[in-house]
């Protein structure tokens, strides 16, 4: 079985500095990705901007607080708010991260790493199934950037993510930048990660910038995509074909046109690569 989502092209994250471009009608994008928690609110300008974006283009909802791998019980109230937001927005799909964000009733508001063990696998699969039942839809899970791994992991991250997707029948949001960051931080080949994922589960791609801290790479989303990540994007397109792609830019956010230029570059790469593949197979 595969994940069934529409192809939306090359989008950008919906961020407050760009809201004026929604009001004046000049935000020419293929699609938006909105951070779900930012819009789990009762009213005000952000929610109006989301409605405006949705009227203008397709929107996907991207959460950061599902905490799918946490050993705390699932937060029913949170899932209720997420379901209500999805009913309002009618998103193309809904995604969150393969991580945990809190435990014992407290939240770190970060994407924390987990050991890739059989115990964790059973736990996460069961939670994804429960969440999808509660939301009445499939979700996508995204690989996160990480700065540590665990000695007692028995699976590679890509094996873990792919198995979760297969067993829980969910999709994968492949963050190509995160693969690169984690590959450098933990010393594995990024191409191996891509090769190890089930191709029919990859429903979306993220691209973003990061910061070189010297001893490690840090996932900061505060600049343009760097060349090694563009190269890895090419590898991903060859392996997965055409996949809806989104540029994330969350800090030092530039003008919308600068972010859109990154989306245009992704589009050009996709067009060039897939045309070449098509010509070769003709």
């Amino acid at each position: 079985m595969a994940i069934a989502v529409p192809y939306l092209g090359h989008g950008v994250g919906l961020r407050p500095p760009h809201f004026p471009r929604l009001w004046d009608g000049t935000a020419a994008v293929d699609w938006f990705e909105a951070l779900a928690e930012n819009f789990m609110i009762a009213g005000g300008r952000p929610l109006a901007a989301l409605d405006r974006a949705r009227a203008h283009a397709p929107v996907a909802l991207h959460g950061v607080s599902l905490s799918i791998a946490s050993t705390d019980p699932l937060d029913g109230a949170y899932l209720g708010r997420l379901r209500a937001l999805a009913a309002r927005v009618e998103p193309a799909w809904l995604s969150d991260h393969l991580c945990w964000s809190g435990v014992a009733g407290h939240y770190a508001h970060d994407l924390l790493p987990l050991p890739f063990t059989e115990e964790a696998l059973r736990h996460v699969v069961g939670r994804v199934v429960a969440v999808q039942e509660r939301l009445g839809r499939q979700i996508l899970l995204e690989n996160v950037s990480s700065y540590l791994t665990f000695e007692h992991s028995t699976l590679a991250e890509w094996e873990f993510l792919g198995t979760v997707a297969e067993q829980a029948d969910c999709g994968i949001l492949l963050d190509v930048n995160n693969v690169h960051v984690s590959a450098v931080n933990h010393g594995f080949a990024a191409e191996r990660y891509l090769a190890g994922l089930p191709a029919d589960r990859v429903a979306q791609i993220h691209l973003a910038g990061h910061t070189d801290m010297g001893a490690y790479l840090f996932d900061t989303h505060d600049g343009p995509v760097i060349d090694p990540v563009w190269d890895l994007y090419r590898v991903a397109l060859r392996r997965f074909g055409r996949v809806s792609t989104l540029i994330e830019w969350d800090d030092h956010i530039p003008e919308l046109d600068v972010v859109c230029a990154e989306a245009d570059r992704a589009r050009a790469i996709e067009t060039e690569l897939l045309s070449a593949v098509h010509a070769a197979s003709a």
Binding site: E37, V103, H109, E119
Partner: protein, 259 residues
Amino acid sequence: MLPLRDVQLRFFAAITRGGPVDAGLRAVVREHGTLDAAARIEIYADMYRARLVDVLREDFPRVCALLGDEAFSTVAGRYLACHPSSHPSVRHLGHRFAGHLATERLPQPFLADLAHLEWARVEVFDAPDPEPLRLADLAAIAPTDWPALTLRPIAACRVVSSAWPVHEIWAAAGDGDAGGTWPAAPTTVRVWREGWSVSHAAMGAVEGEAFGILRRGVPFAEVCAAAEAGREPDAAAREVGALLVRWLEDGLLARLPER
């Protein structure tokens, strides 16, 4: 091998509480390259603190301006230690910050109240969209219905009481004036949203009392009766009328439910 629950409890404690890293956790973190287990855990601890202090800095910019960045960061760190986030949305992180400031020994005694005002503005910013009552709506009410009429503030409205002119301190801090002393002056401020714009205004004694009674959801006749207490009736009626017009112009009152 540590069970997943154990890993998470130890990891969360390590990144939120600081201090030496638990030996059991350190033993299961793989060392690679130039970073040992403690250094890798420290990356998450640094991120936790930096990210959440930044959130508080954005929600309380004027408290931060008056305290100074370094002192604010220290106080915010103590707040996070006392009140770790218990809501999945980081939007709620600062809901106890003003109360926490009241327990801190701070150089300026009004900072907790200033934080109350800043938090009220945060809450109003994304409160339910107001559907304000208009003068024309009131004109349609029969005179016989007025005594039982109950007016309520919009949901996007808060009231902050302080022993200091907290609205003036807010304005001065926004202008970059981090001056240290202000004379005490009991102040009541209403905070509300018109459209998407958040405003606040100090209320005089009569308005503060009348608005406080109105917020209790009592018939408007009781608001008028309270205003008349010990005063010349015509003058009190004129004052209540003027207040009502001001509240309507500011969009402070909620549209009446359909009958």
